[in-house]
C-alpha cells in the first residue's frame, strides 16, 4: 500500500457522510454486543444475502444510546435515516422486508433523537 506524505494526506478528499445512502449500520461496541448485536448483525447479513439486497451492511462503535442497544441505523435512498432500537433477530428481518423492500418504516421500534456524530 502506498504511504502518505504530508502533501498527499492534505489533498485526500474528506466527506461528511460515509457512505451516502443504502446502508445498514449496526452498533458493535461492547454495549451493543452484550445486548445481542452480534446475532442481529449475523441475521441481517444472512437474510440480506438471501434476498439479494443492494445494501451495504456496516459495523460501527457505540453511539451513546446504550439503553436502546442493539441499535440499527437504516438509510434507504429517498427515505429519512431511521434508527431502530432494541432490535432482535425477528425485528431485523422485519426491517429488511418492510423498510428496505417495501419502503415502509417498521412500527414500534424507531428511536428518534439518537444523536449521531454527523448531526453535531
Amino acid at each position: 500500500m502506498e504511504k502518505f506524505t504530508l502533501s498527499t494526506l492534505k489533498n485526500r478528499k474528506t466527506s461528511d457522510q460515509v457512505p451516502p445512502t443504502n446502508y445498514i449500520r449496526v452498533g458493535m461496541s461492547t454495549c451493543g454486543i452484550a445486548a445481542g448485536a452480534d446475532d442481529v448483525f449475523a441475521a441481517i447479513t444472512e437474510e440480506a444475502e438471501k434476498r439479494k439486497m443492494n445494501m451495504k451492511i456496516l459495523k460501527c462503535g457505540c453511539i451513546g444510546a446504550c439503553y436502546a442497544e442493539p441499535l440499527v441505523e437504516v438509510a434507504v435512498e429517498g427515505m429519512p435515516i431511521v434508527y431502530y432500537g432494541r432490535v432482535t433477530r425477528d425485528t431485523a428481518i422485519k426491517i429488511l422486508d418492510k423498510h428496505i423492500s417495501l419502503k415502509t418504516i417498521v412500527q414500534d421500534y424507531v428511536f428518534e433523537g439518537i444523536t449521531g456524530g454527523s448531526k453535531s
Binding site: 460515509v18 462503535g61 456524530g117
Partner: protein, 580 residues
C-alpha cells in the same frame, strides 16, 4: 413520484399506560378520511427524544416537532403536513441540541476497524497539521484551546506537555491511560472501541510535541475489544505511513505499544501505572518528582487520559481558538459522561462544559426512571461525591463540582432516586476502595477499612452518634496523609453524604430506620391482619418459608427465618405487608 412525509408519533406523558396506540388510530383515521394514506405514513416510535410533553409528533423529512397534541389538533396538523407548512400553535421551538460531539464525533458513525472511514472524516489531518508546525507551536495551540486533563484532576494539558518537553533527556515517553476503573464509567472504553484512530492520532501528536519516540497504551485487560481495535488501528496506521519510522515522510518516528493492566484500580494513578509498565508491582510512589520530570524508567513521561487525547486531533485540525469557544472560560470543550443509575436513557453523552446537572438529567437523559423524584447525583465514582437535588442547577465544570465536595472525575454519573439510600451508596464505594487499596500507605489501607466498618455498623443499626465524628476524622486524615489520589479521595463519598444527608445518617443511627428501605438489617416485615385478604401469595413467594398460618387464623412472618428480601412486600396486592 411525489415524496412521502413520515409522521413519527409517541405519547410521552409519564402515565403508566402508553397512549401511543390510541393516538395512532386517531391520526390514521383522519389520514384515511382525507385519502392521504399514500402520501403520509404514520409511524409509532419507541422513543422520540422528548419526555413529559404529551403526544409528540415529529414530521420527517421536514424536521419540525409538535408537542401536546390533542385530538382537536389533528386536522390542522395533517393540513400543515400536507401543505408542507407549520402548525404554529403546537410547534416545539426549543430544539436546542444539548449534546455536542467532539470526542464522540466518530463513535457510532464510522467503522472502527477501517482507517479509510476515519480518513474520510478528516482523520489524521490533525497529525499532519502538527507535523507542519514546530513542537513548541503544537503546545501553544493546545494552550490556546484551554484543554484540561479529562481523567479527573483537570490539569492543563499544555502545561504537562511543556514540563515534559523542557526536561533535558535523551529519551522521553508518552503514555495513554486507558485504565478506566470507576464503577459505572465506560467513556474511555467506548472511545477506544468506537474511534480508536482518534486516540492513536492524539497520542502521536503528544509524542511529537514533547519529543518522544516511544509510547504506550495502558489498557485494562477487561477491555479485550478495545485492545484489539487499538492494536488494529496502530497496524493500519503503520501500513499507510501514519505511524512508525518517518511518519508522513518527515523526520518524526514513533513506536506505540499496547500494555495490558490486570484490572487494579490503583494503576489508573500515574505513578502506579508507570510501575506496572516497568514490570513492577503496581503501587504509587510519592510525588514530586512528577512523571513529567522522572517517569517511566526514570525518563520524562507525559501521561494523558484517553478522552484528553481524543480531543487533541480536533484541536490541531480545527484550531485551538475554535475549541476554546466551546464550554466555559475555565473549562473549555466538552465532557463525556456515562449516565447510569435511575435514569431513562442510560448511555454515553457528550455535553459542553457549563451545562447544568438538571439539563443533563431532564433533557439529555430523559428524566428519572418511573417518574420518581431525583434525590442526588453521584459524580466522579469512588473519588467523587454525591450532589443533592437542590444544587442541580449548578453549571458543570471542574471548579463548581469541586466546591460542592465532588469532582468532575473521569465521567461516571450515577442518578439516585428516593429509593436509594445514601449511606448504602457510601458503603458501596468504601468497600470498593477497601478492595482496591494497594496497601502501601497506612492512612488508606487502615482508614478505608475502618470507615467501611463504621458504615456497616450504621447500616446494621449498631452505631452511635459519635461514629459520625469518627468517620469525619478518619476521612480528613486520609485526605491529608494518603500517598496517592486513591486514598486522598476515598473518603469523598462519605464526607459529602454526611454533609448533605446528615438527617438520613441520624435516622439510621438514632431511630434504626432506613428511609429508603435499602438497609436490610434495619427492616422488619409484618403482615397487617386487618388488610390481609388471605390470598397466600406471600406464602407462595417467600423463599425461606418464613410465613406460616392458615386461612382461618391469618398469616404471620417468622422474624427468625425472615431474610428481609422484601418479596412479600412487593407481591402483596393489598398493601397488607408492612415494611419499616
Amino acid at each position: 413520484m411525489s415524496s412521502i412525509e413520515y409522521i413519527l408519533i409517541r405519547d410521552t406523558s409519564p402515565a403508566q399506560s402508553d397512549g401511543t396506540k390510541d393516538f395512532f388510530t386517531l391520526i390514521l383515521n383522519k389520514i384515511v378520511e382525507l385519502g392521504l394514506q399514500e402520501k403520509i405514513h404514520v409511524v409509532r416510535a419507541a422513543d422520540i427524544g422528548l419526555y413529559n410533553k404529551g403526544n409528540v409528533v415529529k414530521v420527517l423529512p421536514q424536521g419540525v416537532v409538535y408537542t401536546h397534541i390533542v385530538s382537536e389538533d389533528i386536522s390542522d396538523l395533517i393540513n400543515a403536513v400536507k401543505n408542507n407548512t407549520v402548525f404554529e400553535k403546537k410547534l416545539y421551538k426549543d430544539l436546542s441540541y444539548k449534546q455536542h460531539r467532539l470526542v464522540l464525533r466518530n463513535c457510532g458513525v464510522i467503522n472502527p476497524e477501517s482507517i479509510d472511514e476515519y480518513l474520510d472524516r478528516g482523520g489524521y489531518q490533525g497529525l499532519r497539521n502538527a507535523l507542519e508546525k514546530k513542537p513548541a507551536e503544537v503546545i501553544a495551540e493546545i494552550k490556546k484551546s484551554g484543554l484540561r486533563g479529562r481523567g479527573g484532576a483537570g490539569f492543563p494539558t499544555w502545561l504537562k506537555w511543556e514540563l515534559t518537553a523542557n526536561q533535558k533527556s535523551d529519551q522521553r515517553f508518552v503514555i495513554c491511560n486507558g485504565d478506566e476503573g470507576d464503577p459505572g464509567a465506560y467513556m474511555d472504553r467506548s472511545v477506544m472501541e468506537g474511534d480508536p484512530h482518534s486516540v492513536v492520532e492524539g497520542l502521536s501528536i503528544a509524542a511529537y510535541a514533547i519529543g518522544a519516540t516511544k509510547g504506550f497504551f495502558y489498557i485494562r485487560a477487561e477491555y479485550p475489544l478495545a485492545v484489539q481495535r487499538i492494536k488494529n488501528a496502530v497496524q493500519q496506521a503503520t501500513a499507510l505511513g501514519l505511524h512508525g519510522n518517518n511518519i508522513l515522510g518527515t523526520d518524526f518516528s514513533l513506536e506505540l505499544e499496547v500494555r495490558l493492566g490486570a484490572g487494579a484500580f490503583v494503576c489508573g494513578e500515574e505513578t502506579s501505572l508507570i510501575a506496572s509498565i516497568e514490570g513492577k508491582r503496581g503501587t504509587p510512589r510519592p510525588r514530586p518528582p512528577f512523571p513529567s520530570v522522572k517517569g517511566l524508567w526514570g525518563k520524562p513521561t507525559s501521561i494523558n487520559n484517553v478522552e484528553t487525547l481524543a480531543n487533541v486531533p480536533v484541536i490541531l485540525h480545527e484550531g485551538g481558538g475554535k475549541f476554546a469557544k466551546i464550554g466555559t472560560e475555565k473549562g473549555a470543550g466538552t465532557k463525556v459522561f456515562a449516565l447510569t443509575g435511575k435514569i431513562c436513557n442510560t448511555g454515553l453523552i457528550e455535553v459542553p462544559m457549563g451545562i447544568t446537572l438538571r439539563e443533563i438529567v431532564e433533557d439529555v437523559g430523559g428524566g428519572v426512571l418511573g417518574g420518581k423524584k431525583i434525590k442526588a447525583i453521584q459524580t466522579g465514582g469512588p473519588s467523587g461525591g454525591v450532589i443533592p437535588a437542590q444544587f442541580h442547577d449548578t453549571p458543570v465544570d471542574y471548579e463548581n463540582l469541586g466546591k460542592l465536595g465532588s469532582i468532575m472525575g473521569s465521567g461516571g454519573m450515577i442518578v439516585l432516586d428516593e429509593d436509594d439510600c445514601v449511606v448504602d451508596v457510601a458503603k458501596f464505594y468504601m468497600q470498593f476502595c477497601v478492595d482496591e487499596s494497594c496497601g502501601k500507605c497506612a492512612p488508606c489501607r487502615i482508614g478505608t477499612y475502618q470507615m467501611k466498618d463504621i458504615l456497616a455498623k450504621i447500616t446494621d443499626g449498631k452505631a452511635e452518634l459519635e461514629d459520625l465524628t469518627r468517620l469525619q476524622e478518619i476521612g480528613t486524615a486520609m485526605q491529608k496523609a494518603s500517598l496517592c489520589g486513591l486514598g486522598q479521595t476515598a473518603a469523598n463519598p462519605v464526607l459529602s453524604t454526611i454533609k448533605y444527608f446528615l438527617d438520613e445518617y441520624k435516622e439510621h443511627i438514632v431511630n434504626k430506620k432506613c428511609p429508603a428501605r435499602k438497609c436490610k438489617n434495619l427492616m422488619t416485615y409484618r403482615i397487617i391482619p386487618e388488610k390481609c385478604k388471605r390470598c397466600r401469595v406471600c406464602v407462595k413467594n417467600c423463599p425461606e418459608n418464613a410465613i406460616s398460618g392458615d386461612r382461618e387464623t391469618g398469616y404471620i412472618i417468622d422474624q427468625q427465618k425472615c431474610i428481609k428480601c422484601g418479596i412479600c412486600f412487593n407481591v402483596c396486592k393489598f398493601d397488607a405487608v408492612l415494611g419499616a
